[in-house]
């Protein structure tokens, strides 16, 4: 058949370069931000910027350069974090950031691979991957931004939405309880589990920097305001009010059993570092149990041949 196409408009490298030159370097974090990607897409009052900043601060604190890191995201407002960071970043499919990151981390064991994604992405569509990666103890740092709803698609109910909370698909309130994420991560086998809110940026920086020292599956939940999708229908006010609300309702209990971290609508929010343990990560275990056995057998064979 004949095919008629519109004329292609070629990529204007110079214009892209000029735009970058114009803006990039003005922000104190620009070394860590991809040239030409700001302004970001997030709403005013959104908590995502705070979480992104705490991640960058943690990298700074640990003297970790962008070349030592890779960030993998799923889909959602949180999923867009990857695209703003000036390192190798992978914006994958909805729910599949963890298995993608698993492949990446196993192929490049020297990299710090961080999964940055939303609560819906990680615990609804991606819930199965989350628990299996924790069980295997893949060397991944998961930062879950929990805004109690699906922000990107306009504020629908999520697996973290508290019982009774309103969202666009629970207009009369949620009939289901939400997950207790730290408890779930702990039960699945994570070696580090913490929860903070964006009201606790210093603690968030501290927790994220601690995860840079761990080998294995770490989990940090960052509760963040989403004034657009969650704050408004639940009468939590603007982004700042919602953040204050989370701050006021928080109770810092480092070392608390994760089972105590259940969240109820307008109830208290237990925050802190709950779990910090060590056990061999997937690759250590694979190398010591499987690879060494496979290669020892190979050497034996060789000896027989030589004899």
């Amino acid at each position: 058949m004949k095919v008629r196409l519109r004329e292609l408009q070629p990529f204007d490298k110079e214009a892209a370069e000029a735009a970058i030159k114009h803006d990039h370097g003005l922000h104190p974090h620009d070394e860590y931000l991809k040239p030409g990607r700001i302004p970001h897409i997030w709403c005013p009052g959104c908590g995502l910027g705070v979480v992104l900043t705490t991640f960058i601060e943690a990298m700074r604190r640990k003297n970790i350069t962008p070349d030592q890191c890779a960030v993998v995201s799923g889909i959602g407002c949180t999923g867009r974090v990857a695209g703003y960071l000036n390192m190798d970043t992978y914006h994958t499919t909805h729910g599949r950031a963890i298995p993608f990151a698993t492949g990446l981390a196993l192929a490049k064991p020297d990299l710090h691979v961080t999964v940055f994604s939303g609560d819906g992405d990680l615990f609804a569509i991606g819930g199965n991957h989350m628990i299996h990666a924790a069980r295997r103890n893949v060397n991944l740092k998961v930062i879950c931004v929990n805004n109690f709803n699906y922000g990107m698609t306009g504020g629908q109910v999520a697996p973290t939405t508290p019982l009774g909370a309103k969202t666009s698909t629970t207009p009369r309130g949620n009939a289901e309880p939400g997950f207790n994420l730290p408890h779930l991560a702990h039960a699945a086998g994570a070696v580090y589990v913490a929860r903070w809110t964006t009201f606790h940026p210093r603690q968030l920086v501290h927790s994220i920097s601690q995860t840079f020292d761990k080998t294995g599956f770490t989990f940090v939940e960052a509760i963040a305001p989403c004034p657009t999708g969650y704050g408004r229908p639940n009468k939590l006010g603007a982004g700042l009010d919602e953040m204050k609300f989370y701050g006021e309702h928080s109770e810092i209990r480092n070392g608390a059993p994760p089972g105590d971290a259940e969240i109820e609508l307008r109830g208290k929010i237990v925050v802190g570092t709950f779990i910090d343990v060590d056990r061999p990560d997937f690759l250590t275990s694979y190398n010591s149990r499987i690879v060494s056995a496979a290669q020892a057998k190979g050497k034996q064979k060789e000896k027989v041949k030589i004899a």
Binding site: Q9, P10, F11, D67, H91, T93, P99, T102, A107
Partner: protein, 382 residues
């Protein structure tokens, strides 16, 4: 090294094992999969062999995760592969699309069984051919190879890896249960006789590197994580830098690049085995296990003096449309036996443009054609 990655020599192995050995010989060092009949043996062989040669085998929680993991490993600079059958292939579709959009080389082996749904877990089918072509949403170019023997399972898996590196995208090895479970002699050549395409990495200054640029209908070299190019890789419509740009203008460039790199290089990619086409009045067109019986039928008919041609598709996608188009006015009919209710036959009919008759010999799955049935069908046109 104590263990060899290329098992040079003669082996008596099944097609599944040969796919695994082909992967290893091509340099595959990461396999993520999920057990499924009749493809499980590929994974089992990889589980045993990969740790011997410095690779990693991981059994994921499902095929969605398996496909995601091999994409991640590929960006980590390691050649990667998975294997599955119908139900798992369905689950892989969204991430296959991600692989197409992000131009990520890797190989997916599908040992086809009868479908739809759970269908015939242990018995043959060839009904995923169109799914390989169109299964993930949106437009993209597709390369799918169809081995007809365990030897070809080895050869074509190596070739699939090479094509995946050249065109920077997932490539399918569309085997079937008969070929996968058939045990035959497989000759693995010495390393120096194997063509293995290694990945091309960028070496230009960072500002001059455009990871998603199209150069003469070919993809750009691929930077590995941690190499220092700070690449952004996204399934969103993106510009040549990899930055998401949600406009019709960039969509036009993005999609045309990932389709055209296959379309414009199709004649280079296409491989067929053609016998007796010069004077053929009827052309038997087949692939995979079906081509073996079709070949027998072809020889029997030729022995009886009939002007029959044999056209075996080694690449099912891209489809050899030009060849069919050129043959159509010269032949009476194409007879297409396949184990589905019409997939490649439709493509033959479409490209023959009414200039020759097309007969689909359809089997729904679970058995293969007999040479006699095929001879009988061809007889209708002699």
């Amino acid at each position: 090294m104590a263990h060899k990655d290329i098992l040079t020599g003669e082996h008596f192995i099944h097609g599944d094992a040969a796919c695994a050995e082909g992967g290893l010989a091509a340099g595959c060092r990461f396999f993520a999969g999920y057990p499924i009949t009749p493809a499980t043996e590929v994974a089992e062989r990889m589980a045993r062999r990969l740790p011997e040669v410095g690779g990693v085998y991981i059994q994921m929680e499902d095929e969605i995760a398996s496909m995601a993991a091999i994409l991640g490993a590929s960006w980590g600079g390691v050649k990667s592969m998975t294997s599955t059958s119908g139900p798992g292939f369905s689950l892989m579709m969204e991430n296959i699309g991600l692989g197409m959009m992000t131009e990520t080389p890797c190989v997916v082996v599908n040992i086809q069984r009868g479908g739809p749904s759970t269908g015939l877990p242990t018995l043959v089918g060839q009904a995923d051919i169109m799914q390989a072509r169109w299964g993930s949403h949106g437009d993209y170019g597709c390369i799918a190879l169809a081995p007809s023997s365990p030897q070809e399972c080895f050869d074509l898996t190596v070739h699939a890896f090479n094509l995946s590196e050249i065109y920077r995208q997932p490539v399918f090895v569309m085997a079937d249960e008969v070929v996968g479970h058939m045990t035959e002699k497989v000759v693995i050549p010495p390393r120096r006789e194997l063509t293995v395409v290694e990945r091309t990495y960028p070496n230009m200054p960072k500002n001059d590197y455009f990871p998603f640029e199209s150069t003469g209908s070919l993809p750009a070299p691929m930077a590995t994580a941690g190499q220092g190019y700070n690449v952004h890789v996204t399934g969103l419509t993106h510009d040549e830098r990899g930055y998401p740009v949600i406009t019709d203008i960039v969509q036009e460039r993005n999609v045309r690049h990932i389709v055209d790199k296959i379309r414009k290089n199709a004649e280079k990619i296409i491989r067929v085995e053609a016998i007796g086409l010069t004077d053929a009045e009827v052309v038997l067109t087949a692939y995979g296990c079906t081509a073996r019986v079709a070949r027998q039928a072809f020889e029997n008919l030729r022995d009886r003096g009939h002007k029959v041609g044999f056209l075996r598709l080694i690449t099912v996608w891209p489809f050899p449309s030009n060849l069919i188009r050129e043959l159509a006015p010269r032949v009476r009919a194409f007879v297409v036996p396949e184990i589905n209710y019409g997939q490649v036959a439709y493509e033959v009919e479409r490209t023959a443009q009414g200039k020759a008759e097309v007969m689909l010999m359809a089997l729904m799955g679970g058995s293969i054609h007999t040479p006699e049935e095929i001879e009988d069908a061809v007889g209708e046109y002699l």
